[in-house]
Amino acid sequence: MNWAWFHRLGSPPHIYRIAGTLTPWFAWLAGLLIIVALYSGLVLAPPDYQQGDGFRILYVHAPSAWLAVMIYGVMASAAAIGLIWRMKIGHAVAASCAGVGAWFTVVSLVTGMLWGKPMWGTYWVWDPRLTAQLILLFLYLGYLGLRAGFDDLSRADRASAVLAIVGFINIPVIRYSVEWWNSIHQAPSVMKMARPSMPIDMLAPLLMMLLGFTLYFAAVLLVRLRAEILRRERTASWIREVLR
């Protein structure tokens, strides 16, 4: 088997170039999808039989919560690859993920609280799902803080990678918290084996939004990754050629 492609993935100039090419594609597609999804979700989709128009916050809340969890998965995997195969690019990807992931977690928490007040009757309860999502935010912040605490880049990489991997245990806890324990948070409507508990005209904007958010994340990740590569390789000769 030819592993050349895999080893090229570890080469910063190669990644830097690919990231630059892909970014506008992801960004434009994301923008387009999010605009279409917002219009169809906020205007075209019918109101819910119980929540009325209040359910529409779902179109921001659920995709951000999924992204917050998914980005942590990407971050922990990239950190593990960096740790095991000593691939610096893995650490660079992980470091670029944390900030975006933290913001998506904040968005999911805030939109959830705004929805919770009228629907549940409270902004916040110490429920397993809500608490696990808050812990996710602290994991992201801890990761960023730990990295900032080291002057030496390779030590920061290794220490923060261990934290990212340890924190990964929180991911299944978030996903299954509503099934393992009595929780006030509803069970998954879409991310389950059975048919989604939602008609297609409510579901379609949600899936478009999810895809849009994912592409947005990809675009932001690539921009941040390029910046991270430039920072790490600032003394390398290929940088001078690229930036000329």
């Binding site: 019918p46 109101p47 819910d48 039989y49 119980q50 929540q51 209040g54 359910f55 779902l58 593990a80 740790l83 095991i84 195969w85 000593r86 009228p118 629907m119 549940w120 009757g121 409270t122 309860v125 110490w126 429920d127 397993p128 261990v162 991997i165 340890v166 990964f168 245990i169 806890v173 509503v178 099934e179 393992w180 324990w181 009595n182 929780s183 006030i184 509803q186 069970a187 998954p188 409507s189 059975a194 508990s197 939602m198 008609p199 005209d201 409510m202």
Partner: protein
């Protein structure tokens, strides 16, 4: 072992160790992690009678009593095996209605009536437009049947 294999072992070991720790810890604190108790658990004496706790279940249709001109009200929370009467005085959340999930925070009196000082509504994972809900109601005579797989329907002994 090559250094790389050693690092893989390390990563897998960390994950396994942390997983076991978390599983044990969550199991030990099962009762504290549990957000609410259902009426069957209360009937079986599983709920902390002497302390405040949360009671969760469905509002049994036809049991909601409101006193005219006051915020006093009472209703029956059920998991379709056991019932607990709840009295409450205050503002209800939007989603409070018959046959819907509800979580009441308060104390169980010696007469078996649960005195709540906070009522939270629990939404299920089903979304549908009003016309569809109407159609289903017409078909089933006024109520939307509780989906037995829905987690809003309390399950026994969890």
């Amino acid at each position: 072992m090559t250094p790389r294999q050693r690092r893989i072992t390390l990563v897998v070991g960390i994950l396994a160790g942390v997983s076991i720790t978390v599983v044990l810890a969550l199991n030990a604190f099962r009762e504290n992690v549990m957000f609410f108790f259902d009426p069957s658990q209360v009937a079986a004496g599983g709920a902390p009678i002497e302390k405040r706790f949360r009671l969760g279940g469905m509002v049994r249709p036809g049991t909601v009593d409101r006193e005219a001109g006051s915020l006093e009200m009472s209703f029956v929370v059920t998991d379709f095996k056991h019932d607990v009467r709840v009295v409450y005085s205050g503002v209800l959340p939007d989603l409070f209605r018959e046959n819907q999930g509800v979580v009441a925070h308060g104390r169980l009196g010696s007469n078996g009536v649960f005195v709540a000082d906070e009522i939270l509504a629990k939404h299920d994972e089903n979304y549908m437009p009003p016309e569809v809900a109407e159609a289903i109601k017409d078909k089933y005579g006024g109520i939307i049947p509780v989906n037995p797989h829905s987690r809003a329907a309390p399950s026994a002994g969890t």
